[in-house]
């Protein structure tokens, strides 16, 4: 009885021979010999930020190899979008990167606008910028909270979510939904913001700077935090570029690349803001860059709000944009447009476009291929989480397990964004 149990134990701690064959090319020879331990981290693990599975090869606590296994959250969003008309597919975009719903809406609608050559009224452009930047702040807040929570600084998490809540309230005020907004539509916005919107945003602008200071007081100079982040996960700029890393992770490696600056969209060129970069290339640099981005986003929101023009928020091109409710009752033509747009959908010209925005995580691109029918022939998302995830095995090498959870946090992956 006892000897049986011990035998079983040995098999458990090394790997069964046949399953090892499949893994041989991924792990080192030492794992095959049984010198190192293979540990399965996730998909149900509290700090893999969703359902990421990592196969770890460990020597004691040291990570020899880290093999990400993605696909546990695969929802078939890209394929689903091909089965819906262009406008109706917007609801799918909310569910991609669930921390950047409005950013996803924006990227997709910009692609459609490019495809159909649709104009967006200036008020809608400015509101898009405000909402996208608020979304960036809320996404960074979730990142900051969970990043700190991964290091067991639990209070920061709740403080961040407190402020995120007020941003989500603003989104709810506009779109009726906290997260699944579907607020940005081809040719503008679903409808104008309510009258309370401006006050709510101004209130947030007033409160938030002191709240950033509060987070910074808890972390920025905390020796325990510095110890956990300094010189952890070094990402040299050339490696970052090789792997196609974008977003704050790239900028913290000293590469000044931000789509809002290099190919401005939605009128970002009118606003005065800095792109924070850092040359330390470590987790702490990425932290500092994102914290500075919070300040910059606030700055952009403030400018956009100050010169927010009046006017319509949706294009008048009735071939693509449904008429407002008020017109339907009085205009026969409007009724026909409404009926056609909501049953058949609009038919963009044949062609393909790629359009990208700077999401909180990096370059978020949409590739649309149109065959002239009301449904897209092909939708492909170039998501920053998926691309940035590739860097994890590189970063994790020879770090400790404790650092690994910090590294998952620092590249800020959203699993909904990884598995489309």
């Amino acid at each position: 009885m006892m000897s049986d149990e011990t035998e079983f134990r040995e098999i458990e701690f090394n790997l069964a021979p046949d399953s090892l064959d499949e893994l041989k090319h991924l792990v080192s020879q030492r794992a095959v010999d049984g010198d190192t331990v293979l540990l399965n981290m996730g998909p149900q693990h509290p700090s893999t930020h969703g359902v990421l599975r990592l196969l770890l090869e460990l020597d004691g606590e040291q990570v020899i190899n880290c093999i990400p296994d993605v696909g546990f959250l695969h929802t078939g969003i890209e394929k689903n979008m091909e089965a819906k008309t262009y406008e109706k597919a917007i609801v799918m975009t909310d569910r991609l990167d669930y921390l950047n719903n409005l950013g996803n809406n924006l990227a997709y609608c910009m692609a459609i606008e490019k495809l159909c050559d649709l104009d967006v009224p200036p008020r809608a452009q400015a509101l898009r910028v405000i909402l996208a930047e608020l979304q960036r702040i809320s996404s960074h807040l979730v990142w900051l909270g969970t990043h700190a929570l991964d290091m067991a600084a639990m209070s920061v998490f709740l403080y961040c979510f407190r402020e995120r809540e007020s941003i989500l309230d603003i989104f709810e005020m506009c779109s009726g939904q906290r997260m699944m907004t579907t607020y940005i539509r081809p040719g503008g916005l679903w409808r104008d913001t309510p009258v309370e919107f401006e006050d709510a945003v101004r209130n947030f602008l007033k409160i938030f700077p002191s709240r950033i200071d509060e987070y910074e007081r808890l972390l920025t100079k905390n020796p325990l935090f510095l110890e956990r982040t300094r010189k952890i996960g070094m990402l040299p700029p050339d490696v970052a570029l090789q792997y196609g890393v974008t977003g704050p992770a790239l900028r913290a490696s000293g590469v000044n690349h931000d789509l809002r600056k290099v190919q401005p969209y939605s009128g970002y060129e009118q606003y005065d803001f800095e792109v924070p970069t850092h040359t330390d290339c470590d987790t702490y640099a990425r932290y500092l860059v994102r914290i500075e981005e919070l300040h910059q986003s606030l700055h952009i929101v403030e400018q956009a709000l100050n010169k927010l023009p009046l006017g319509p928020v949706r294009s008048n091109n009735r071939k693509y944009v449904p008429p407002p409710r008020s017109e339907i009752g009085v205009s026969m033509e409007a009724l026909i447009h409404h009926f056609k747009l909501w049953t058949e959908g609009f038919t963009p010209p044949v062609g393909s476009v790629y359009s990208a925005v700077e999401s909180p995580r990096g370059e978020l691109g949409v590739y649309l291929e149109s065959d002239g029918s009301p449904k897209p022939y092909r939708v492909h998302w170039r998501t920053p989480s998926f691309t940035n995830m590739q860097i994890l095995p590189y970063l994790a090498k020879s770090h400790l397990v404790a650092d690994l959870v910090v590294l998952i946090g620092t590249i800020d992956v959203v699993l909904g964004d990884v598995d489309r």
């Binding site: 134990r9 540990l39 067991a152 209070s155 403080y159 956990r228 397990v401």
Partner: protein, 341 residues
């Protein structure tokens, strides 16, 4: 003799019940305070101000299924929670919660085991037993996360025991006694924490080492939720899990009681000579303040990394503690009045 036996029995009973209740309400206190620290309410559903929350928790855990993993070592798996809990419970037996009291015309002392002249050694000895429970729990679960947690904790506890033991030496030298009763009495005019610089230094070393010893944040490596899911008790459920939690919180109380006795004058306070019942109250207040400090630490600090923790223990705390002991010894030699107790 028989009377003494009954006295001890009654005292132990009161003490165990008191400890278990205070454990239960410590969890509530912690959750309440953490809630306030984090701008939320904490538990407030069960009973007025959430006062019945610990009872609800206990009932829930009692009715949970006791899972034993198929490939776990069953005997050790069941033994481990017992091995961790019992030392935590008996550790306080030597600590005086008050002077001598008078009840029903009988003199009695507040420490359960009476006045043992090696009280401090007793505490150290018992404290080191509980590491077995954790290692065995980690091993018997037959789970890699649990094993890692067990290994981490054994390394951690063993390295911090040295600094912990050395931090005890300063009060022992200052009181020239190993009996906790004498140590408390020696602090009659001035608490040891005010014996600058050795007093505060050894108190700080004690608190850091003790935090590591009981696996409390920011040294909660063995159960690092974010890394090892739950560490050594990841496979435990129901009451066995509750026993581990209980141990953790009881050890928190024990840590604070010992700190109060060694550095903060124990049960001393104004008026305690006239009214003996003030002793336990002063003790309670001091322990509560220290516990509040622990909760505060948990709410604010990130977790230290495992290798840094070992470095801190061996390269920082241990040398400082050694130097501190030497300074204390020299000070006592130079000023003979110091070590008279």
């Amino acid at each position: 003799m028989a009377a003494l036996f009954w006295e001890s029995l009654i005292k132990s009973l009161i003490y165990i019940v008191f400890l278990l209740t205070s454990f239960a309400y410590l969890t509530l206190t912690e959750r309440k305070f953490l809630g306030r620290f984090q701008s939320r309410y904490g538990p407030n559903r069960a009973g007025p101000f959430g006062l019945f929350q610990p009872i609800a928790d206990a009932v829930k855990l009692l009715f949970k299924e006791e899972l034993i993993p198929a490939q776990a070592d069953k005997i050790l798996f069941i033994l481990a929670p017992i091995l961790t809990t019992v030392p935590a419970l008996v550790m306080l037996a030597v600590v005086p919660f008050g002077g001598t009291g008078q009840l029903f015309g009988r003199q009695f002392s507040f420490s359960i085991a009476g006045d043992i002249n090696i009280g401090v050694l007793y505490i150290l000895a018992i404290a080191s037993i509980s590491v077995y429970g954790i290692v065995i729990a980690g091993w018997a679960s037959n789970n890699k996360y649990a094993t890692m947690g067990g290994i981490r904790s054994s390394a951690q506890m063993i390295s911090y025991e040295l600094a912990l033991g050395l931090s005890f030496v300063t009060p022992i030298l200052l009181a020239s006694s190993m009996s906790l009763n004498d140590i408390v009495k020696a602090q009659m005019p001035v608490w040891f924490i005010f014996y600058f610089p050795v007093g505060p230094l050894s108190a700080v070393i004690y608190l850091i080492a003790a935090l590591a010893e009981i696996n409390r944040s920011p040294f909660d490596m063995p159960e690092a939720e974010q890394e090892l899911t739950a560490g050594y008790h990841v496979e435990y459920s129901g009451m066995k899990f509750a026993l581990f939690m209980m141990t953790e919180y009881i050890k928190m109380i024990v840590l604070c009681v010992i700190a109060a006795a060694l550095f903060f004058g124990g049960y001393h306070g104004p008026g305690v000579d006239t009214y003996w019942w003030l002793g336990p109250i002063y003790m309670f207040i001091k322990v509560f303040m220290l516990l509040f400090g622990l909760i505060w630490i948990r709410a604010t600090t990130p977790r230290i990394r495992y290798d840094r923790l070992m470095a801190l223990g061996w390269k920082v705390l241990l040398p400082i503690a050694l130097v501190n002991v030497v300074i204390t010894a020299f000070a006592i030699l130079l000023f003979p009045g110091l070590g008279s107790g």
